[in-house]
Symmetry: C2
């Protein structure tokens, strides 16, 4: 990686157009051709470019071009504060936990967290309107479609659940199915929509669920 700290101006042209007046920034040129420009504020880069790119340098002008998307970044360097190259060895991949997929796995092990008597028939059941998170049957033998959200549920998610239920209802064997939205929180409007459409909402916290269902999986204390 090339680590350039410099007082510079930057212009980007591609999907949008940006320009950045003179200032001090840290610029990371990575070995895969990607780069990002950071000032001393905010965690997001001021400018960036995914790899692969071609980087050319002409005096104090660095031009980065990404042919795949016809994007150009031009850096005009006014003063170099640091310019060093470092070999960074990193074979690790980021292990991720708490993604929606994991909710599905946990809920499959503990469907009673959603409702007593619920049985998960299928997880990630694919339909032509999209994948149904949990395809279930309730204590009364009725088909239940469960849509899981790891963040606050909003109107669009209720729409999503509606589509799935409508799709399932096209099969007389399942009609009329029930819909349940599972999330740690729900927006007021989404709650109203749920009630209007007869859907259930179950408030579930991932940390709590994991602790109850699979305490052996709990890392970080």
């Amino acid at each position: 990686m090339r680590l350039l700290v410099a007082r510079c101006e930057i212009a980007y042209h591609g999907r949008a157009t940006t320009s950045l007046a003179l200032g001090d920034r840290v610029i990371l040129f990575k070995d895969d051709g990607s780069l990002c420009v950071h000032a001393d504020r905010g965690y997001k880069p001021l400018n960036y470019m995914p790899g692969p790119t071609s980087v050319s340098e002409d005096g104090d002008v660095i031009r980065v071009y990404r042919a795949a998307s016809d994007e150009t970044l031009v850096i005009v360097v006014h003063e170099v504060l640091t310019d060093e190259r470092r070999e960074l060895v990193d074979e690790a991949v980021l292990e991720h936990d708490g993604a929606e997929r994991q909710w599905h796995l946990l809920l499959e092990r503990a469907p009673e967290a959603i409702e007593v008597g619920l049985v998960v028939l299928e997880r990630e059941r694919f339909t032509d309107t999209g994948p149904i998170d949990l395809f279930c049957r309730d204590a009364d033998g009725r088909t239940v479609v469960v849509e899981v959200k790891r963040t606050r549920a909003v109107a669009a998610h209720v729409e999503q659940l509606s589509r799935y239920c409508e799709r399932v209802d096209r099969d007389p064997a399942h009609k009329p199915c029930r819909g349940i939205l599972v999330a740690p929180e729900i927006a007021p409007q989404a709650r109203v929509m749920c009630e209007a459409r007869g859907f259930g909402f179950v408030e579930l916290d991932f940390g709590v669920l994991k602790g109850e269902v699979a305490p052996e999986l709990t890392l970080f204390e």
Copy 2:
């Protein structure tokens, strides 16, 4: 800004949970409390934290806590390759030429690019279902709702246009309004939806439009 290059392990716990095994990374600790962790590939950080945070250091363990969202990042430093502090002065703000906004402005100047005889009555007309990009009247005096997309139009965009048209149709003075989707490209399914709902689709390339309508605005070349 503190610029730490180190061989380290990292754990994050907050909205999700991640862990990252030993590897060499560049870590930027910014003065506003935000930080980001970069390996030598990809333009996105492996981990990050928005400011403000409190950073505490205990031996080779750096703990970053963000109270606002109860998120924690723990860095276990195994080997320090570089650890320096730099004063970076940057008063500049990123000038951003929002693409969609430009489309609206250009189309307001040249509605005939969409349809002969079209007149733009209002741009960004706010309704309780969201903002209508271009609220227009056609050559026959009918109300027209135009939804502009700067990328390929997909099904969700047709849904969006539907909602706006339904909203406009609630007013007898405008009913029945027409809907037109404007984009550089449209997905096959979205095209079918447009036809099924009687919406028009106009294929427009921004570069071409800009060249025709406002060549004086063309920068970079």
